[in-house]
Symmetry: C2
Subunit: 577 residues, 2 copies
Amino acid sequence: MREDVGMPQLRIAAAQVNARVGDLAGNADLIVEWSRKAAEAGAHVVVFPEMCLTGYPVEDLALRESFAHASRRTLDELAVRLADAGCGDVAAFVGYLDLDEVGPRNAAAVLYQGKVVAKQFKHHLPNYGVFDERRYYQPGTELDVVRLHGLEIGMVICEDIWQDGGPIAALGQAGVDLVVSPNASPYERNKDDQRLPLVARRAAEAGAPLAYVNLIGGQDELVFDGDSIVVTQEGRLLTRAPQFVEHLMVVDLDLPGTAPRTEGRFGEFDVRRVLLADDPLPAYPPQPAPPIAEPLPEEAEVWFALVTGLRDYAQKNGFRSVTFGMSGGIDSAVVAALAADALGGGAVHGVSLPSQYSSDHSKDDAADLARRIGAHYQVQPIGDMVEVFVGQLGLTGLAEENVQARCRGVTLMGLSNQHGHLVLATGNKTELAVGYSTIYGDAVGGFAPIKDVPKTLVWALARWRNAEAEKRGEIPPIPENSITKPPSAELRPGQLDTDSLPPYELLDDILDDYVEGDRGYDDLVAQGFPAEVIDRVLRMVDAAEYKRRQYPPGTKITLKAFGRDRRLPITNAWREG
Amino acid sequence: MREDVGMPQLRIAAAQVNARVGDLAGNADLIVEWSRKAAEAGAHVVVFPEMCLTGYPVEDLALRESFAHASRRTLDELAVRLADAGCGDVAAFVGYLDLDEVGPRNAAAVLYQGKVVAKQFKHHLPNYGVFDERRYYQPGTELDVVRLHGLEIGMVICEDIWQDGGPIAALGQAGVDLVVSPNASPYERNKDDQRLPLVARRAAEAGAPLAYVNLIGGQDELVFDGDSIVVTQEGRLLTRAPQFVEHLMVVDLDLPGTAPRTEGRFGEFDVRRVLLADDPLPAYPPQPAPPIAEPLPEEAEVWFALVTGLRDYAQKNGFRSVTFGMSGGIDSAVVAALAADALGGGAVHGVSLPSQYSSDHSKDDAADLARRIGAHYQVQPIGDMVEVFVGQLGLTGLAEENVQARCRGVTLMGLSNQHGHLVLATGNKTELAVGYSTIYGDAVGGFAPIKDVPKTLVWALARWRNAEAEKRGEIPPIPENSITKPPSAELRPGQLDTDSLPPYELLDDILDDYVEGDRGYDDLVAQGFPAEVIDRVLRMVDAAEYKRRQYPPGTKITLKAFGRDRRLPITNAWREG
């Protein structure tokens, strides 16, 4: 027995699962399956992520009455199914979409012994970054605390633990023995650094342990990383789930267990008590202390986020294979390695699309890459197509360069239409930010795996992935030559990226401050960047943003970090500096 | 003198102008120019639309501190410029972006005698449809009432008059002689039917006349129609501005004129009084009663909305000419007529892009159209390009059909890159809704003028525009044959739209209920549509939505009415029925 706990009174299971938006039947099956696992592990409570029954985010589906009704109906049926499956005595906390006379609700319910016994609506509705919840949901002010085995269990949904004050403070005043929190909190770099101190602070505020359960998986532009945790009211981390995998985290808790406490109004919240089972459980031997997963190191975390996003985008959309241009350069090489990790090398169909300006090393490096990852590979020269367009239309200069990229796009889409592959766009965040990309050309694709990855990080990821392979005694997926050679678009003889762009280290630094940091021209000058370079970069970003929004490429580009869109007007005359 | 008014005490001018987002300097010039016109017309007050100084909507620009600071600085300078221009004694109500310690604000200020003398922040922040104001702005609860010539003038910004209760009720309790309301209210079909009763109700609530001043012009996907009005507290319409044009509406008001009234708290609002000029004006002769513009009939209103949207998108983005595929069909014919009305026939560069499946009448009708509207016209057969792709890649069936559309897209983009034209996509709302369109093919373009127009309305608009021409003794722009022939994509021999789609009348009815009305499968069945057709249409819409979001076409498609986007997750497993 652990030294600082007495005899446990409650075993809780956090089901960190991968739900699929809109798939009520599939998600209900998932909840039954993981509740059964929780029951088999002897848990008395199982907690699922936010809106697990509908998937997250459902966006405008929240406004369809037929969908909200189906969500409620499925929830009622699920309570019965859980009881039929022998899990009725495990109190299941399940997020779903509700609808009442006030409007749609981001809701969570407690299912117990075949019935929906309690439900609660999210209060703080995030409406920034990737979130638009004030468009969709009405806030709730009622808190349902269930009494199970003599213990008072409250719940708060996601953003309600990120905002100061709010439901947690009310639960603390009303008195609870445990708080559970269903979440759908998207991955951001280093977000796990924020979660633990936050959850610890809220556990102290509640005066009770807090179980934070997060979704995993890719959903369109978002990736959820899991990283579920249980923290004591003193702020001690009891257990943490690994990132980016489905996982059942089971932990025994030693809780004080008190008499039923007050109902009524606390601040702006109404606390309701719901009795499920008054008597404490008989003493039982605790399971060994569960492991505490270490957060992944920086590059590994990003790599798994990208693999997860790509895998789930393809699978949830019903694609079994992907295709893209393999140029021999670093971007398409990293996309290929990600795709092989996500779907298997056999699902990857690389296409070399050489023009008259393509170097021999490009074709060699692409073929080498395909061999290393076990991908299908074919060569489709674009010379004949380009010649017809250029000759018939009399194209020169940039118009001629763009036609090359667009003939590649038409070729990939033709192969996609003929063979059913998902086309991947291989552009990185840096080149998309400065517009070093051809609309309807290399921007063609249904998903752009590294659109949120700056060029300098693309190289770092390539080196990290190769080093990992070497550690495991495997063949490094990415040819060394693709990492070390100077980058080139190869759209005219001898062209290099540095002909048009500042060095990537400097460029990525400025982009990070201008785009992520929302800094203005004067701030950037004060930070010591050369004024001439700032001026050039800002001009490129603004022009690219304008062009990209005018002719959107294959995938919505989020110039902000992972999944956060920059929403700028197209016909915008504002310029910095 | 009008029978029911005494001697006027105040002449107000409503400046219904076309601002440009981000263009602080240009908008400040615009405000000086129209204030001067108001001064020349003898007005004592001039009211500009919501956020006139920044343009509307500024989207993420609201979050850039450098932009907010520039907006405030420009406002201060504008007050001085107005005085220098001899308009200092005209109290100017000017919408702008403010920023304080709480956050960004959707604000309006009063400029008088060289100074910013009062300012107020919008309270109700719309966050539905095309609006995202809760992402950007913090709500205000202070109301500034200025006393000018012995009259108390309050202001409320846009949404604050659409919501029950709120600032208008507080102003009514506090007591005002006049309310002015700066607006940026986007065009929707038949919205003018709603505005007058709403404004009349609010005037009654305020116990004072209400001057409603709306923006005009196109801004990306939005079009603002003006339709500014002044209504007495009894609900009588005093004057209405014409739609879709810049206009200075000047009206003399006979107001009771009272002693200064109470300051302080009314409901959740703090009312502040600001003294500008206490003494009433000497008696002056009123101007003749201003005209009341009639709202435009249905087709005319839509036509001018489309022309305005296209004209401003091109001009605000710096394009002087447009190009697109002229197929001889109804869609490209209507786009051509719109473009000629917006930019002049000489700015239109039509391209016939025949394939082996194109009929002779297609080419004849396209050439006839170009002659009628005075457009440039060229023929670029796509046979040679298609042959290379199909032969080299071994494409068949749908993949082969799509390559034809994509060779047209590459051709138009090549001509655009070479000659600087804006490419227009000619797809209508019906075909985009059901996915009868090729991604990176006919969907290519920077702007899609009829993307929000259902096919049946495209025909109605064509007939209306031709009839208008005949009324004016001009050549009808659209060849009769383009209106009457059965629609065909001409991607295979003898193909007709009706091979793949239900009759357009039925299809548009179902789409209107499913997409605009958010009705579910069961509702549609109950409405009496054939179940088999509903099933087929819903399946097509869902599949198209999924494909379009995966491979966005040239322009953001708003399946909802004018400018309202449908936000559905891509990896969405929910299906109706």
